[in-house]
Symmetry: C2
Subunit: 258 residues, 2 copies
């Protein structure tokens, strides 16, 4: 199978660099083809702006969605965006690997999402009507592909526990796992999280490699998170609220897992 | 009072641009001093990396936290970072204004947070012991200052309702409001959210301005979100889990509001 790793860390000689090397080696040893988009090494342009559209008139105001639609449909996207989209088309699985900074992905990776997820590719796909609200949240261009987050954090596991002060790790990652990965159609596997990165000795590093290796070996076997599909009856359309009888009385991100 | 607006939108001739202009005018009309960090206009460098530290030896691996600490303590931060930190010191209130992209702030603003929130300034402040886990979540350098998000989104309000498919807006914004603003000590006001931005006519625009104006008029009167303070008895330290008797049985972000 084909695996794309989108990787964001400013220092190769780091825990993240070591885990990235390990991931590539393990997947290749398992017979997979691997590409790595090392965003810092690529000097990836983070901000989405009008220069992402080629041959653009500067008279009209730039509109992130409409300009993206125009560029995507007419082959006028910036070349660096097209290259990443081709990698996503090629991939059977996507791994996002990053250090958690301020409870989300690094800016450079956020900019990869914003620019590569064009209108017509990452969003704005499919019909919008009173019965179907676009091909998203379980449908879309990435349907049939798998995705997984590999993330490191200095915080303790208890700080990200069900009643930990940072919020539960599943909720902290929900805007990415549900909003960035499930949205365009990926099946999302549970995340691989490394906590307390400043307390990493050889024994813990070996245990971390072993655990990550097992997850990579099971990339096509593990059960994805059961996020509810938008257009399969769980939500009222177009209000897109969860039907009363499902997860009755519950609110919050967890209600959107079946 | 002094208000810093950190603003991220690639097109001045936009809804966000209009709301930014309105905000500046209204605050000045109310007698406040206003500075705007217009990140796109400033061509703000988004990625955090080793070039953020001046006079840095390239022999040692770059470490985001330790290098930031060294640079902050020794006056070796990149000048653009120091300028923004001075604006934060000057400000009595911070407004983050942005379009919601992929359920978070634009990459360029995320990069502002990552780079300006230095170790010793935005985090890594105060003693860490078994009784006090740093000056954060209610304490810190920004104590006594207020903060508010002004955000636009194409989605409907119901999609961000308590059982909406995107997750409740308060949960979607929690990593920013709690993790970026409350963390270094800001008192965080409820967000001002504009939904369905593609359906904006003159009447709705006027109503939006009026509502935003009222919020700006009450910047020092509105009650902040009651996020629980870390070091005031609600959490077990150092596990930082909410005490059993508080919000008993509840999990998720909402449990951290008293």
């Amino acid at each position: 199978m084909n695996v794309l790793i989108v990787y964001a860390h400013p220092e190769r000689r780091s825990l993240n660099g070591a885990l990235n090397d390990f991931t590539v080696e393990r997947l290749r040893a398992n017979g997979h083809d691997v590409q790595v988009s090392d965003l810092y090494a690529m000097n990836w342009k983070a901000p989405l702006d009008a220069t992402d559209v080629r041959e653009r008139s500067t008279d009209a105001p730039f509109h992130a969605a409409l300009d993206s639609k125009h560029a995507f449909e007419n082959g006028l996207q910036s070349r660096d965006i097209e290259i990443e989209q081709d990698k996503l088309r090629w991939a059977d699985a996507l791994i996002l690997q990053f250090p958690m900074w301020w409870f989300s992905m690094p800016a450079i990776m956020k900019g990869w999402v914003e620019r590569v997820y064009a209108y017509g590719f990452g969003y704005g796909v499919g019909e919008h009507s009173d019965k179907h609200w676009g091909d998203r949240y379980g449908e879309g261009v990435m349907s049939g592909k798998r995705a997984m987050i590999v993330v490191t954090t200095g915080g303790w596991e208890s700080h990200y526990g069900s009643r930990g002060i940072n919020g539960p790790i599943d909720d902290v990652l929900f805007p990415i796992q549900h909003g960035v990965l499930f949205y365009p159609g990926f099946d999302v596997l549970p995340p691989f999280v490394v906590y307390q990165t400043s307390h990493m000795d050889d024994a813990r590093m070996q245990a971390t490699r072993d655990a990550l290796g097992t997850r990579l070996d099971r990339l096509w076997d593990d059960t994805p998170i059961a996020f509810r599909k938008q257009n399969h009856g769980d939500y009222e359309i177009p209000r897109l609220t969860l039907r009363d009888e499902l997860a009755a009385g519950r609110t919050g991100f967890g209600a959107h897992i079946g």
